[in-house]
């Protein structure tokens, strides 16, 4: 299908034509330092090599700040500081006190939530309504949840005692910079580990702001160390001999590299990797709700979500109606300034990610799959933006159906029986998440049991909670994060 211009009109007719006034969020409360240092042993220090790299606002391409590129020497300093704290002060304080620090951090996060949300949107490109209503509340919730575990570890594993692993090297991605930092830091600290955290190179600013909050909480020096840099810095952390645990969230490709590089060590790994999650819609589903969830499932956070419902499996009998309703709903998605409170889809995080998405879309169009994209709003002239789109009637063998795009691109297939739906859903190297829509309980349970996925959303999608374990089967990674099961990833069971 050809690209639909002003599709709000072409799909809806002229009956519903909404005008939106700009509703920009103020940025005056965010103070960004021009040059940012590393946080090692409780102090902000310069990198040994004094090399810097730029971080930009993807919504306009303008430079926000410069970040220190930590080298192997800086990584070594950070790991040594963590070891010193682990053997020293941190090991002497009680679980109750560890919990107190985490509770305190959670509260300061809430108090500075506006600042965190605005900076997250500026640094990452995600819509302010998401950083404000999802990322930052979840950030605080994760610290609150794990804070309460710190003095209850004797209940964590039946009949056994648990001990912290030691030094955790944590490498986090750019799609949910603050939330991923919380998923890593909060359980690690609750269990009594010390941490060296490396945020993604394109989204380090909020991690540094969170570090300021941690500093403000009075956490002992060396317990949390934060180093900035790209892949080389991450590799130095992974390969450091005194790191006991690596927790990585990112691509399956990098996850495999990390796994390979640690085979001769005793390092314990958790890997939260990619996905190509299937969203199954049965003919007896609540259609309007399912449409809404499918849209949220793939277009939330520009599709930069490891568990994005990037494959829609819709029962053949309702496929035409469903796809029509999907187009109708997509026609009112607003792509634009992430700081505008009316924006549904913000900026793609970087030029390279945008190029990658465009390339995959172009390749799928060349393969001839039915294509639809909406353009309810004109894309901003500056920055990295792309319209949400889907491909219909895609073959299971198609690249667009197998590769993780990590963008607002949906692949649609149909099925005739539940067995076929399950088979198609499982026809992937990944196994992170899946969605099921049906009004019949027994059908949902039977389908859920057949799906090889770690998180299954039935009659809902993209729900997250600190108490809910998250993580995948197969090539979506090793281990779980969140909840009691996530905390088990940070302890040794004795």
């Amino acid at each position: 299908m050809a690209k639909v211009k002003n599709s709000a009109e072409s799909v809806n007719g002229d009956r519903f034509k909404f005008e939106y006034a700009p509703a920009p969020e103020a940025i005056d409360m965010v103070k960004i330092k021009k040059e940012n240092k590393l946080f090692i042993n409780g102090k902000w220090v310069s990198g040994k090599s004094e090399k810097f790299f730029e971080t930009i606002n993807p919504a306009n391409g303008e430079k926000l700040a410069e970040l220190t590129e930590a080298d192997a020497q800086d990584v070594d300093r950070a790991v040594k500081a963590a070891r010193k704290a682990f053997n020293g002060e941190w090991s002497k304080i009680s679980g109750k006190e560890r919990g107190r620090y985490l509770f305190r951090i959670a509260r300061i996060i809430q108090e500075r939530s506006r600042e965190l949300a605005v900076l997250e949107t500026m640094d990452n490109g995600k819509p302010i309504k998401e950083s404000r209503d999802f990322d930052v509340p979840q950030l605080a919730a994760n610290f609150f949840y794990f804070a309460g575990w710190a003095d209850k570890l004797e209940y964590l594993f039946n009949g056994k005692s648990v001990q912290p692993l030691g030094i955790a090297g944590q490498i986090i991605p750019w799609n949910f910079p603050l939330l991923m930092a919380a998923w890593k830091l909060a359980p690690a600290l609750a269990a009594g580990n010390c941490v060296v955290l490396k945020p993604a190179e394109t989204t380090s600013l909020t991690a540094l702001l969170l570090t300021e909050i941690i500093e403000e909480s009075g956490l002992p020096a060396g317990v949390v160390n934060v180093i900035t840099g790209a892949g080389k810095t991450g590799a130095a952390l992974v390969n450091h001999p005194d790191v006991d645990k690596i927790a990585f969230t990112g691509s399956t490709e990098v996850g495999k590299t990390i796994a390979r590089s640690t085979v001769k060590s005793k390092k314990i790994l958790t890997l939260e990797l990619g996905g190509k999650s299937a969203h199954i819609v049965y003919e007896d589903a609540a259609i309007e709700q399912a449409v809404e969830a499918v849209v949220g499932g793939i277009y939330f956070n520009q599709g930069h979500v490891c568990c994005a419902g990037s494959r829609l499996l819709v029962e053949e009998s309702i496929a035409p109606v469903f796809v029509h309703k999907l187009k109708h709903r997509m026609a009112s998605l607003r792509v634009g300034d992430p700081l505008d409170k009316n924006t549904d889809i913000g900026a793609i995080n970087s030029r390279s990610e945008l190029d990658k998405i465009k390339k995959l879309v172009a390749a799928a169009r060349n393969e001839g799959y039915e294509y639809f994209e909406t353009a309810a709003t004109a894309l901003p002239e500056k920055g990295y933006f792309i319209n949400p789109c889907f491909f219909n009637n895609v073959a299971s063998s198609a690249n667009i159906c197998r590769r993780e795009v990590f963008g607002p691109v949906l692949a649609i297939q149909t099925f005739r029986t539940p067995a076929e739906a399950i088979k198609k859903a499982n026809d992937t190297a990944y196994g992170l998440a899946a969605g099921i829509w049906s009004e019949k309980g027994s059908k949902i349970h039977k389908t859920a049991a057949g799906l090889k996925a770690g998180v299954i959303w039935a009659n809902t999608y993209n729900k997250f909670d600190p108490a809910s374990p998250f993580g995948g089967y197969n090539e979506s990674g090793w281990g779980r994060e969140g909840g009691r099961h996530g905390l088990l990833s940070y302890v040794e069971v004795k």
Binding site: I444, A448, G454, K463, D465, A467, N474
Partner: protein, 287 residues
């Protein structure tokens, strides 16, 4: 006495592989000898499994896994307990092999069989309980029912330790299969003659064919093929050889197999949980 060197003309048993509930010879036509303890007298010839035998075993394990996992936990428990009963009935056969091929005293051999039976009974009793001990209803914020259940990881390959430790590897097989996994077991050459009565225990316990597959052969030859096999989901690596472990772990990264490295020699909940995935299901609550 099963040996070929016996003075009487016993009918010596050919020890074959155990794949998909059947007892095939290796397709390769190869064998290796097992000797009477401390002698050059041959006790029996064992099949030296090939890469193709291994692939057949994995295919059998893969096709049996969903059905085994789909059995009720109660039924899996019953079948594991039946294995213990069948092993009890073959106690003397096991003892004879341990005495003759490994030089155990009768008392030692008897203890070892006793421990293996204990392991089967222990995990038989766990098959319908570990779910309650590690599963959870998670108190999420919002109107959702959210629960986490453990689920078998799939096909698990067990590479046994070089030094024969019967109760340990029977315990590992039980820990792996009680949750609904199927397994391909690569026995060490040491003590490999035990394959015969052990396979007969599994074959007569109402265990569906393919859930447990036993291969005798050379780990150096087969481990790389096992590590790289795309239908294997997890490897239980009990082998001590550091170089082989590193190589297996590296090859296993190709499809991110779960590696259970150097599993503890104990009967415990933790041993079962090394071979499960956690599945978390959300559903809204409302009218």
């Amino acid at each position: 006495m099963a040996g070929l060197n016996s003075t009487k003309l016993h009918v010596a048993k050919t020890i074959k592989l155990y794949i998909s509930g059947a007892f095939p010879r290796t397709e390769s036509g190869r064998s290796f000898p097992v000797y009477l303890f401390n002698s050059k007298k041959i006790y029996a010839h064992l099949c030296r499994a090939s890469r193709k035998d291994l692939r057949n075993a994995v295919a059998a394990a893969k096709s049996a896994q969903a059905g085994w996992c789909g059995r009720s936990a109660y039924n899996r428990s019953q079948i594991l307990y039946r294995m213990a009963e069948m092993m009890e009935g073959k106690r003397n056969e096991f003892i004879e092999i341990f005495v003759q091929t490994l030089g155990y005293s009768s008392a030692e051999a008897n203890d070892v069989v006793e421990q293996a039976i204990d392991a089967l009974v222990y995990y038989a009793g766990f098959a319908d309980k570990f779910q309650q001990l590690i599963g959870a209803v998670n108190p999420v914020s919002g109107p959702h029912h959210n629960f986490t259940t453990p689920e078998a990881v799939g096909v698990v390959a067990l590479i046994c330790a070089e030094k024969f430790d019967f109760s340990r590897f029977v315990g590992q097989i039980a820990a792996i299969t009680c949750s609904g996994n199927s397994t391909v077991v690569l026995l060490a050459q040491d003590g490999a003659a035990v394959l015969a009565p052990l396979a007969e225990v599994f074959a007569t316990s109402d265990l569906p064919g393919g859930v447990i597959n036993l291969l005798s052969g050379f780990a150096e030859e087969l481990a790389p093929h096992l590590a790289g096999h795309m239908e294997i989901d997890s490897i239980c690596l009990a082998r001590n050889d550091e170089n082989m472990r590193a190589a297996v772990k590296e090859d296993a990264v190709f499809n991110l197999k779960r590696i259970v490295d150097n599993p503890a020699n104990e009967l415990s909940l933790a041993q079962i949980l090394q071979f499960v995935e956690y599945k978390t299901v959300w559903h809204p609550i409302g009218f």
